[in-house]
């Protein structure tokens, strides 16, 4: 039995179904990332776990206890969870110390114990010198750390994060990603983390759950999700890719538009319907001549950009599709010239959806 389980959880608002039967298991101490575009239901799923949103059907269980089901919802305050909000939600009328101490005071801990634990967590998050400041007097990054400290100080059973970094600028965001991962490694809280930023998910998560349109598209380790996508949506959403489509020849081979055969090293094509495969930009070999017997096609260079470390090509192939490929700087083909593309078999991934 997993620590946190979602079983066929659905959420409807009137006629609109936002979460469409989500099944998910999170082991104790794992950091799970819900990743998806905006409107995919990931934040609603998180708020279901938190108890802010009632489930329309299905169950949420913590250590086997049902905390949400169609009829009953244990209120957020009864769940011993913590949450970090997109807006940080720091109470502007309380100092940093008061913000962090609030949860401990609610738990009726003695004053010196509260003080000790607040100081402990403020030290870990490097906020101790700021304890008497108000949130309005802090920078974005500092506010973010206060919000982390406030959530961690109560030693929650489950820590929830709702796009915690989306309000930070790029440099700070990168720094905070590693900070969150460091704190997770230190405290080992079971964590559910919502984001739409794939590199954020890659750096922080043990398990990435890709969501789309209220469903889970795929769940797995970052490597699974990147190297072994199961659907076109996942392949495109994580890392960017070329999708080639054509007629199905076998479980792993298809005849692509432009009349060449693509033999995939992994994955499985859908038994019927459109056959599609994914090849990442930097896995394609670009050359003036044909480089292999199979998985090759000749096209025309439509665009070529010198990027310093590499060249970024757009090549139009006979089927009319445009393939984006990354080539070493030495491979220099002017626009309008013909180019041979080679898709190495082990890098081609057959997709079932």
């Amino acid at each position: 039995m997993s620590f946190l389980e979602l079983a066929a959880v659905e959420k409807k608002y009137g006629a609109l179904t936002v979460v469409k039967g989500v099944d998910l298991s999170v082991e104790r101490g794992q950091l799970v990332c819900l990743l998806g575009p905006s409107g995919c239901g990931k934040t609603t799923t998180l708020r279901l776990v938190a108890g802010f949103v009632d489930a329309s059907s299905g169950e949420v269980r913590v250590e086997g206890r049902v905390v949400s089901s169609a009829g009953t919802t244990v209120p957020p305050e009864g769940r011993n969870m913590s949450m970090i909000f997109q807006s940080y939600a720091l109470w502007p009328h309380m100092t940093v110390f008061q913000n962090v101490a609030y949860g401990l005071n609610l738990r009726k801990l003695p004053a010196d114990e509260v003080k000790r634990r607040v100081h402990e967590i403020l030290t870990v998050t490097q906020l101790l010198p700021l304890e008497h400041r108000y949130p309005g007097e802090l920078s974005g990054g500092q506010q973010q750390r206060v919000s982390l400290a406030r959530a961690l100080v109560v030693k929650p059973e489950i820590l929830l994060l709702d796009e915690p970094l989306s309000n930070l600028d790029a440099n700070l965001r990168e720094e905070m990603r590693f900070e969150i991962r460091r704190l997770h490694d230190e405290f080992k809280y079971t964590t559910v983390y919502v984001t739409h930023d794939q590199s954020e998910a890659m750096t922080t998560a043990d398990v990435i759950v890709v969501m789309n349109d209220g469903y889970i598209e795929q769940a797995g380790s970052p490597e699974d999700i990147y190297a072994r996508p199961e659907s076109e949506f996942v392949a495109r959403f994580i890392g960017g890719t070329n999708i080639l489509s054509g007629a199905r020849l076998s479980d792993t081979a298809l005849r692509c538009n432009g009349d060449f055969v693509l033999d995939c090293g992994s994955g499985k094509l859908a038994a019927d319907g459109k056959a599609i495969a994914s090849v990442r930009h930097h896995d394609i070999h670009v050359g003036e001549t044909r480089q292999a017997e199979v998985n090759c096609v000749q096209g025309t260079v439509a665009r070529q950009i010198y990027m310093g470390s590499h060249r970024d090509y757009l090549v139009t192939i006979p089927g009319g599709e445009t393939i984006r490929a990354i080539a070493p700087v030495e491979v220099k083909l002017p626009v309008g010239d013909s180019a041979w593309l080679h898709f190495p078999k082990e890098k081609c991934r057959a997709l079932s959806r």
Binding site: F52, S87, R107
Partner: protein
């Protein structure tokens, strides 16, 4: 409590069962608001189809709107007056707003404050001030003019007891509506829009005409409509100035229908078109202001550009001073002088100085003490009740914790479309009957004031709730605080400022109300505003001015408190940037 629910409670790991107060609160509030808002309107409609004598169904009441020439005339005059006021307000307020927001006119801040001050002046007090200043015989200005021009007592320079006099006296105290809207809009027109016109070769005046003016046009129209609405539904000023002039506007006409023998059916029927016009005007105003891309401009584009007046500086100054003296200096001067002088027309000398009026009002005149007590009592109770209702309603509506909460918001805003006199009629019909017998008690006035002030209080509170990010409350819940505890620890402290402000504004609005009061008050439930009106009929201007000063002093004090509450100083601006 059913067995399944109890069982489910156990499934939820035996956690303390929540007592969910939101449903009973919702029902209670819904009921209360319905009674406050819907009931009076229902009775108006009911009575408008009822024959006063035998209680049978009739259309006669509506027919008399057209056939009774005094009613029709009152409507036409009221509409004419309202449009006159609207146009005059707009003509005066727009140039002033431009001068104050967009030029280097000296003392702009002070002018703004002074204009806002005329907001606080109850219009009926302004009308009385103009009675003192410009009554045909005894008016201070006429006396002065006779002296200066060496004319005899038949010479009359100003006569306030005329249609135009009435329009003027009302416009003096409604132009701030236009002024405030237009100057706010001008403050927000980004200067780059004007710079863009200038860079394309537009001269300063062309830019004003082609860019600035069209951009603030919606604000001008909206402000003018509000001024029209104010004038149309006003009771005090017309009662003070139009009745001596020998004509009725619709509000005074409705009031006269309540005089013996009362014609309730006709009064109810006469109130309905007023209600319809008000709703239409408000809808139009909303449509005009609602075109967001047109009126509301993001405030990021730096300071608005300032036109240098150059040699026009002094003429502009003279214009502003002239307007301010008409709306502030002269009326307030007249009130102050009358309060401390033997007779209003007497010269400003020590011999004429007296505290007689103060003595009379505060100690001799028996009605004052009661009226002051009533007014204060009603002001405090109304402000407290309305603020409380507004807070709960705004919470339910903005947090959408219950389905259907939106209707509460609609109910709470609806009275804005009900003119005071119409509400007065409705409440009289609802509660001055053998079942309730509230007529002649303070309760009927309390109900009236609560209904009238509800929209203002609600709007204030709902915008402040909207300003508090819901995640602040969510954060409290997930940290382990119950819903009520969160409200107490987090929401309440953040709302404190707005709650005090809402309370103050409701209080000020209440103590100056006259339109609904005049129909609902009796000898035992006199209020300061009614006493002022009564004293005016007996011509005791000195006493009126003393009461007026007391009213104004209280209002200004409360408004100052509202504007100067220490805002949660350092604690603001916690929302993430960007």
């Amino acid at each position: 409590m059913t067995a399944t629910q109890a069982a489910n409670g156990i499934v939820g790991e035996g956690r303390r069962k929540r007592v969910d107060l939101s449903i009973p609160t919702f029902v209670l509030l819904g009921g209360l608001l319905t009674i406050l808002v819907v009931l009076p309107l229902f009775w108006i409609i009911f009575y408008s189809f009822r024959n006063d004598v035998d209680g049978s169904f009739t259309l006669q009441n509506f027919a008399s709107l057209v056939t009774d020439s005094t009613l029709l005339r009152a409507y036409l005059l009221a509409i004419g007056m309202a449009f006159g006021v609207g146009i005059l307000s707009c003509l005066v307020a727009t140039p002033m707003a431009w001068l104050v927001s967009r030029t280097d006119l000296p003392g702009r801040k002070l002018i703004r404050i002074l204009v806002t001050a005329s907001f606080v002046t109850p219009p009926f007090l302004g009308a009385i001030a103009y009675e003192i200043l410009a009554a045909p015989n005894s008016g201070v200005l006429n006396v002065l003019a006779r002296k200066l021009l060496r004319q005899d007592s038949s010479f009359v320079m100003f006569d306030i007891y005329t249609f135009s006099g009435l329009v003027f006296a009302i416009a003096c105290f409604t132009f701030p509506y236009v002024f405030t809207l237009v100057s706010n809009a001008l403050d927000r027109v980004p200067s780059d829009l004007e710079d863009a016109s200038a860079i394309l070769g537009g001269k300063a005046l062309t830019t004003v005409r082609k860019v600035t003016l069209p951009l603030v046009l919606p604000a001008m129209l909206a402000g003018t409509l509000i001024a029209i609405l104010q004038a149309l539904t006003m009771f005090g000023s017309p009662a003070i100035l139009a009745l001596p002039a020998g004509f009725h506007v619709i509000t005074t006409k409705i009031w006269s229908l309540f005089q013996f023998p009362p014609r309730l059916g006709v009064a109810a029927a006469a109130a309905i078109p007023l209600l319809v016009i008000t709703v239409m005007l408000l809808r139009t105003q909303k449509t005009i202001l609602g075109r967001k891309g047109y009126t509301v401009m993001g405030g990021k584009s730096g300071t608005p550009r300032i036109t240098e007046l150059g040699r026009w500086k002094w003429p502009s100054m003279a214009f502003v001073l002239f307007i301010l003296s008409l709306t502030i200096f002269l009326p307030y001067g007249a009130i102050l002088k009358t309060a401390f002088m033997q007779t209003p027309g007497a010269g400003l000398t020590w011999e004429n100085f007296t505290l007689r009026h103060w003595n009379f009002v505060l100690f001799e005149f028996s009605a004052t003490q009661l009226a002051l007590k009533n007014t204060l009592f009603l002001g405090i109770v109304t402000a407290t009740a309305v603020t409380a209702i507004a807070v709960v309603t705004a919470y339910l509506v903005t947090r959408r914790s219950i389905r259907g909460a939106g209707y509460l918001g609609i109910l709470a805003t609806a009275p804005v479309a009900v003119p005071g006199i119409v509400l007065g009629v409705g409440l009289f019909l609802s509660y001055a009957n053998p079942t309730f017998q509230l007529y002649g008690t303070l309760w009927i006035l309390l109900i009236a004031f609560m209904t009238i002030e509800l929209p203002a209080g609600y709007q204030q509170m709902s915008s402040s709730f909207a300003g508090i990010h819901p995640e602040l409350e969510d954060a409290g819940r997930i940290m382990g605080a119950s819903r009520l505890r969160t409200l107490w620890d987090i929401t309440a402290p953040l709302l404190r400022t707005s709650i005090i402000a809402a309370w103050c504004f409701v209080f000020v609005g209440t103590i100056r109300e006259l339109s609904a009061t005049i129909l609902l008050t009796t000898a035992n439930t006199k209020l300061v505003s009614v006493i002022i009106y009564d004293l005016n009929e007996s011509g005791d201007l000195g006493a009126i001015c003393v009461l007026g000063i007391i009213l104004l002093a209280v209002s200004f004090t409360v408004v100052c408190i509202a504007n100067n509450i220490p805002v949660l100083g350092r604690a603001r601006n916690v929302m993430p940037r960007g």
